[in-house]
Assembly symmetry: C2
DNA sequence: CAGCCATTTGTGACCGGTCACATTCACCGT
DNA sequence: ACGGTGAATGTGACCGGTCACAAATGGCTG
């Protein structure tokens, strides 16, 4: 592997001049630049990311801290970040935190505190991410993906407008004539700007009663269990589900209990995962722009890393997609 | 950030002794080691990954080259690798290659050729991965996830036994009494050890006719189109689908054409994604151990990186999961 | 033509680890 | 008492970039 010294020798200049060309400094004569670029090309030189990180004190590129990489929302956000990073030729690393246990959080924090981690993006939709965010030293250049209106700790925060998404979906159901809308919630809905809040907003606005929330995990199995419970209550005619996978579990539970969707019960999901359009019935859902969120995160992280941090929080809007799983309630 | 020199001063030893403790060399007196560890603890010292990578010539940790991070098989393989990497305290990076265009392949190859990429895992299920694998210089420590029996170019290769998986699924359908099994194939089935081959094996073994294969893309929309075509042919009673998402699209197409699953047509998927158990009808599928595959990849990559490469190819076995989407063919 | 300034280029040190080799010291056998 | 041996530790150089500063070059003014 040739180094800048080799390139310098080949081009008949000093290594510092090569460095200047690499960082396209204006203080280089055009002919010199051309000569250096030719030498770079000829030798197949590529600058070493490790050396740069060591010298600069921080790597370019970003590392994402997340509790999950497979669930649609997380995976798609990651994808958005990766695309944006790749477009700028930067590296993306991933560090998963599976629990909020202090030891594991500390490990993750130590990990991203290292210079070679570069800019850090913490996905703080859940207790693991939030714990990492709180434990992160101030000198680590980081931005956070959070629930909107989550308490801001001086970090740049980026969020999907989940409150509006939930409100839109709930309003859609009320407008179809349902007396109220039940809700099966996933673990990450807590905050004041979250889905739960949006759901309550719309119910209050529509003058509807606010039923008890059914919490469930990320797994479809617990969604199925929640669905069985709701299926047993005859007055339930509309269910807002925490995401599309949850909706699938609930739908199956209703089916197994002999209830038709949307004839007896309407359901709405969140996220618009690829399969939802092809489910039977095709799922009405709120599409969230996770990829756009990821891109925004990347750019915010790079800004933070290079010191041009503009601490303007970003809010990415959702859009309701109406399909077959919602209809007016059955006539009694 | 304290360096080993600071630790050395605090412990009253030389920096080299600190380095020895960090790499647990046996050439250190126990008391000295204790003193150094105490100083490390006291100062909150963490070794710099960048400095290590620069000095060593290669980073520890791995970088994965893949064409996709969201599709279930890819995402779960990545997850398996990340878990294994985290268990050893190592970093994992991701580099996506979206097309097999020479320029993009070259960029990716350059990227992972850098010392800070560490060990490299190439997911070579598709043309993008294969192109990267072929362009990768020999001095890059890499392993490949491939289709079984893909031409081996001296790299350690790890694979799922897709041929067996496809054969198991096809045999299951034949044993139910279907005259033959149609096949909707995803883009990555080509090789001699792939799904296509397994499907042909089982048909040949069962003395069944080999129908024309319908190719489709990764998107459910094209699966739906393929499903509509098959729905129009009355003699089709059993369909092997390239993966579970494809199966969902095919199922919807059959439904829209007025065909019942499994009453009129049986379908089988691949992968056993989480939703398949809760689809209606619950999908019969072949579960693939992607996470196990990912773990195996990581360990092979580390072995390659540290020079203890054992070039034994690994073959991860599948398992058939029978649910509701398969049944005997309708009586004429 | 000296003097000054701006532009372009070069030199030395440094980032934080590791390697190869030198040194110190205690203990052994003869 | 003395050289030999092995274990424990220390020293200098190096990996490949970047920074701060020095020096050479050239054009202009007075």
């Amino acid at each position: 592997m040739p180094s800048i010294r080799d390139v310098a020798a080949a081009a008949g200049v000093s290594y510092q001049t090569v460095s200047r060309v690499l960082n396209d400094s204006p203080r280089v004569r055009p002919e010199t630049r051309t000569a250096v670029l030719a030498a770079i090309e000829r030798l197949g030189f590529r600058p070493s990311r490790a050396a740069r990180a060591l010298s600069l004190g921080r790597a370019r590129g970003i590392t994402v801290v997340t509790s999950n990489t497979v669930l649609y929302g997380y995976a798609t956000t990651l994808q958005g970040m990766e695309e944006a990073a790749r477009a700028e030729g930067l590296a993306m690393g991933i560090r998963v935190v599976e629990s909020a246990a202090p030891a594991e959080v500390k490990q993750a924090v130590d990990y991203v505190s290292d210079a070679s981690a570069g800019g850090v993006v913490v996905i703080a939709w859940d207790p693991m991410g939030i714990a990492v965010l709180e434990a992160l030293p101030d000198d680590v250049p980081a931005v956070a993906v959070v629930e909107p209106a989550a308490p801001d700790r001086g970090r740049v925060a980026i969020a999907l407008d989940e409150r509006r998404a939930a409100a839109d979906a709930t309003r859609h159901l009320l407008e179809l004539g349902h007396r109220t809308v039940h809700h099966v919630a996933i673990p990450s809905e807590g905050g004041p700007g979250g889905r739960l809040a949006g759901w309550r907003d719309a119910l209050a606005q529509g003058g509807a009663e606010v039923p008890e929330v059914l919490g469930c995990g990320w797994d479809i199995k617990s969604a199925y269990a929640a669905g069985r419970r709701l299926a047993a209550e005859p007055e339930v005619t509309a269910i807002l589900c925490g995401n599309d996978d949850i909706a699938q579990g609930v739908r199956r539970a209703l089916y197994d209990a002999g209830k038709d969707v949307p004839g007896d019960v309407s359901i709405v999901g969140f996220d618009d995962i690829p399969g939802s359009a092809y489910a039977t019935p095709a799922l009405t859902t709120v599409r969230m722009d996770f990829a756009g969120l990821g891109r925004a995160c990347f750019h915010a992280a790079v800004a933070e890393l290079t010191g041009q941090a503009q601490p303007e929080p970003v809010l990415v809007p959702p859009s309701l997609v109406v399909r077959e799983s919602t209809a007016p309630p059955p006539r009694p």
